[in-house]
């Protein structure tokens, strides 16, 4: 059922499938137009990514930096471990009464004039949002009308497109809207959708997908971005981040001021006061929240928290884990729409509550704690796989350990069968996770299920079955294990030794013992019995 609900999520346009197009600098193509069904083939993506030294260096540098910053601000808090434990408990408590909190959130938000919508899956969420957008531009008579040109949606229309008279939607960064592929959907409906977080903006005009939950353009160098801005925005080529940012500020200012609709995610929604809220640093979220006449927040069902007290505890953990900050530059509380005396803020405010496979995860005792996730991205930064491959290799919206667990849940076990294997099971993700999700256990559980589910002949499974049969019978095991020793020592008498690959090039193998270990062991133990 999960699979059915989210089947559409698997059909990434190639720019989302990314593989190497998104990441290999020399071969980077900025515009890819065809829509193809792409399996999220993580194995070949990883192989490609590993060949890209430049990518690996960029990811390594960025993740090292993030980890160091996070460690520094975490070290300031002597009771960090208690805070994590407490937060994990609080998240579980909130999830255990999720229905109740959602209903409270709905009531309180509605009482303040925020309209609440429920979406079972990506398709429904997109439909609801598009309808709100269409209605609002029709009633406001903003002059701009959506042009339903199917070609428009095929590529991410360049936000610098001056001739556009389409209604403008400014978006602040939201992984949930990436998950449901809202932007291409709205573009197909004739809207100009502009990502306003700098990293998101960069990947948008590059025609790529974000490669990290909190740092979407982490895989690109300043020179890449300079070239991109020169090509797409007609700016002079510069590499200095300060200059690059002022180019983006100028380009986006215009969009901010003209925007008809603002779309944001929600880091949390506080039930007791009906408050969707988000954190950001650039001021883009503030502009998205201040100017457009219509405001839409999209949240997963798990983002509801019962009280402000709970919320403040997560607010201690989230910025520290995500960006190594004590608090983000802005924390926004979208408490209500504009009233008649207000001169800014949205006239209409909508909250879309999305399931999209989450309630199914809730039902699964082994996996449900994944819904504690507050999307900080810390597990990505420490993951030995992510650090070598970057985010695009995962082939879908959520990379890293969190993505490797979510992929089989959201896309289906078959579609994302390789994702749980993209991990060394070292457990660092769990150690760093501010809400103590046992990610490594969940990956193991999912691996187990993948193997169990495989039908048809598998040489691995056949070998494992034989192995199990032998291990279950000690006699058989010791007889069989005697054969190679007998051949190598007694028959070939050391004239030929097996060469181990790679390792064996530099090392000599051990001498073959005249007596096998099982025999030695049984002799020794019977000997010691004699002594007593």
């Amino acid at each position: 059922m999960v699979q059915n609900q989210t089947r559409s999520a698997v059909r990434f346009p190639t720019r989302f499938a990314c593989g190497n197009d998104g990441i290999t600098n020399a071969r980077r193509k900025l515009q890819i137009e065809t829509k193809v069904n792409v399996k999220t083939d993580i194995k070949s993506n990883i192989r490609q990514a590993l060949l890209d030294d430049k990518l690996r260096a960029a990811v390594r540098k960025a993740t090292d930096h993030s980890v160091a910053q996070r460690d520094e601000v975490v070290a300031e808090l002597p009771n960090w471990e208690e805070m994590r434990a407490e937060a994990a408990q609080l998240r579980d408590r909130a999830l255990s009464e999720l229905d109740k909190h959602l209903v409270t959130l709905e009531e309180r938000a509605f009482a303040k004039g925020i309209q609440v919508h429920w979406a079972k899956d990506a398709e429904e969420a997109n439909r609801i949002i598009a309808e709100i957008c269409r209605d609002s531009v029709q009633t406001s008579g903003s002059g701009a009308t959506p042009t339903t040109d199917t070609d428009v949606g095929a590529t991410r229309a360049s936000p610098s497109d001056e001739t556009s008279s389409r209604p403008i939607i400014t978006k602040s960064k939201s992984m949930t809207t990436e998950e449901i592929e809202l932007t291409p959907y709205l573009e197909k409906q004739g809207f100009e959708v502009v990502e306003t977080d700098l990293g998101e903006y960069i990947v948008q005009i590059a025609g790529q997908m974000p490669s990290h939950i909190t740092a979407p353009a982490l895989h690109l160098s300043r020179a890449d971005i300079g070239k991109l801005f020169a090509e797409k925005l007609g700016a002079d080529f510069v590499e200095d981040p300060v200059e690059l940012i002022s180019i983006a500020r100028k380009a986006l200012r215009e969009k901010f001021l003209k925007a008809d609709i603002g779309i944001t995610g929600a880091n949390f929604a506080i039930a007791e006061t009906g408050t969707p809220m988000m954190v950001e640093n650039e001021g883009n979220g503030r502009l998205v929240g201040a100017i457009p006449k219509v405001q839409i927040h999209v949240m997963g069902i798990e983002k509801v928290v019962p009280t402000w007290d709970d919320f403040l505890r997560y607010l201690e953990l989230l910025p520290r884990s995500a960006t190594g900050q004590r608090i983000t530059g802005s924390v926004l509380f979208f408490n209500r729409p504009r009233n008649e005396d207000d001169r800014d803020g949205p006239e209409q405010q909508h909250l879309v509550i999305l399931d999209n496979g989450r309630s199914k995860a809730l039902e699964d005792p082994k996996l449900r704690s994944i819904l504690r996730c507050i999307r900080c991205g810390a597990c990505l930064n420490v993951c030995p796989v992510y650090r070598r491959t970057g985010g695009h290799a995962y082939g879908w919206v959520y990379p890293g350990p969190i993505g490797a667990v979510l992929a089989p849940i959201f896309l289906g076990l078959e579609e994302a069968a390789d994702h749980p294997f993209a991990s060394s099971l070292c457990g660092r993700c769990h150690e760093t996770c501010p809400v103590k999700i046992p990610l490594h256990h969940q990956l193991l559980t999912l691996r187990h299920r993948v193997v169990q589910q495989r039908t048809g002949f598998s040489s691995e499974r056949a070998a494992m079955n034989v192995w199990q049969g032998v291990m279950d019978r000690p006699e058989l095991y010791s007889t069989l294990s005697e054969i190679p020793r007998f051949l190598l020592h007694d028959v070939l008498r050391g004239h030929w030794k097996p060469k181990l690959p790679v390792w064996g090039k530099e090392h000599d193998g051990p001498e073959i013992a005249p007596v096998g270990f099982p025999q030695m062991f049984s002799r020794e133990s019977s000997g010691s019995e004699d002594d007593e």
Binding site: I245, R249, G274, N284, S330, R336
Partner: protein
């Protein structure tokens, strides 16, 4: 679309959620969340902490002696902005504290955020507002966006200057919440933003750059 929408999906989702959590009803009493300590700090300590933390994220705080101190510090800062434009909200507190008069006597042009077209407001050189509270341990100011205050003056110009009464400083967010609730203020009633220092980004090679889409320079005058 003015009632609670799409009730079928709502029901199905709630049913599915209830199905998901039916074995999960935790004994709520088992979860103990210790109350956060309430710090009692003196005003001077709060001012010091706030200033230090704001400075650590690239903002400036100035501790001033009362309204007199505020006014003289303001004239001094605004002398840099002669012939420039200030964007301010129609906040009566800015009049009462003499801020508006000082802006005018500094030779600046005043634009009111509630009556200036957006494009023009966005060109202003400095936004001057009040702040409604300060959170010392992060150097954060709390902005309530009531009709008289709005959002734009603190947001559009590259410089934001806020005035904040010292007795509105709190040790940390938990203290702030507790005090606010105990004063009977509904924290969910008015749109609110917590602002800590200048807007910033590290999206290009993790290089920290202050001044992204919001203000590049943030000054808080504590009085």
């Amino acid at each position: 679309m003015n009632s609670i929408n799409n009730s079928r999906s709502r029901d199905e989702m709630l049913t599915s959620i209830r199905q998901g959590i039916k074995d999960l009803r935790l004994d709520q009493s088992e979860v103990i969340t210790p109350e956060k300590n309430i710090h009692k700090l003196s005003v001077d300590e709060l001012v010091l902490k706030f200033s230090e933390m704001l400075a650590s994220v690239g903002g400036e705080a100035h501790s001033l002696a009362g309204e007199g101190g505020l006014q003289s510090a303001l004239s001094e800062i605004l002398s840099e902005f002669k012939d420039k434009t200030a964007l301010i909200p129609p906040d009566p507190e800015l009049k009462e504290t003499g801020v508006v008069q000082i802006i005018e006597s500094a030779g600046m042009k005043v634009l009111y955020s509630n009556e200036t077209p957006l494009e023009q407001a966005a060109e202003a050189d400095i936004g001057i507002t009040t702040a409604q509270a300060g959170i010392a341990d992060t150097g954060t100011m709390v902005l309530f966006h009531t009709s008289k205050r709005g959002r734009l003056a603190a947001l559009l110009p590259t410089v934001h200057l806020a005035i904040l009464k010292k007795d509105l400083l709190f040790a940390d967010k938990f203290n702030y919440l507790k005090e606010t609730v105990s004063q009977g203020i509904d924290i969910g009633a008015t749109p609110m933003t917590w602002v800590t220092g200048p807007s910033l980004t590290a999206d290009i090679e993790k290089v920290l750059v202050r001044g992204a889409h919001g203000p590049r320079r943030v000054i808080v005058l504590l009085y």
